[in-house]
């Protein structure tokens, strides 16, 4: 019973984190500002999901594989954010957004 309650609370926190980040991605004015809201989804929410799986299953194969996925996500997030913001900054410095002009 206690385990179920803790799991539900952890999952609710994970969903709230994702929902808040989705709102941030939707309302922020620029890509650089939107990028900040990807980090909670790539770092905070996975840890909460991992804890929920751990509380439900204990130390077993499922928890191990979830841990692996979470570790990869946490390791990948900074590299990906850095590469993205670097591309956006380079574009701003060169007066960019040629793609949008082409698309329009």
């Amino acid at each position: 019973m206690i385990r179920e309650i803790i799991t539900d609370v952890l999952l609710a926190l994970a969903v709230l984190t994702v929902a808040a980040a989705a709102l941030g991605v939707a309302v922020m004015p620029s890509a650089a500002a939107r990028l900040h809201y990807v980090t909670p989804v790539a770092v905070v929410a996975p840890v909460l999901v991992l804890l929920a799986v751990f509380v439900t299953e204990g130390l077993d194969e499922n928890t191990g594989e979830t841990l692996l996925a979470v570790l990869v996500m946490i390791a990948a997030a900074p590299f990906l954010s850095h590469a993205t913001i670097r591309a956006i900054r380079a574009s701003e410095n060169s007066g960019g957004n040629a793609g949008d002009k082409e698309r329009a």
Binding site: V15, E57, V72, M73, A87
Partner: protein
């Protein structure tokens, strides 16, 4: 329906704003939306695998997490010229 499945459905609903950003925003916004969407997809796969009690399905989130880095970097690099 377990709480894991409910959480997965709620996270799928949270993808809608990112989808709108991808469709309506600039190319840079779309890249950020793609990264957001992929990160949530990893969580959804993990939640569904646990929710349906299918241990074999736990390989999807692991694979997708690895591909998240690769595809994201390739995507950003390839689109850098147009961002």
């Amino acid at each position: 329906m377990t709480s894991f499945v409910i959480a997965a459905i709620a996270m799928l609903v949270a993808l809608v704003p990112a989808g709108v950003v991808i469709v309506r925003g600039s190319l840079a916004d779309a890249v950020v939306g793609f990264e957001f969407l992929t990160s949530v997809a990893v969580l959804v796969f993990a939640l569904l695998a646990e929710g349906f009690k299918r241990p074999s399905l736990f390989e999807f989130p692991v694979l997708l997490a690895v591909l998240l880095l690769g595809s994201g970097l390739v995507f950003v690099r390839a689109l850098e010229r147009w961002l």
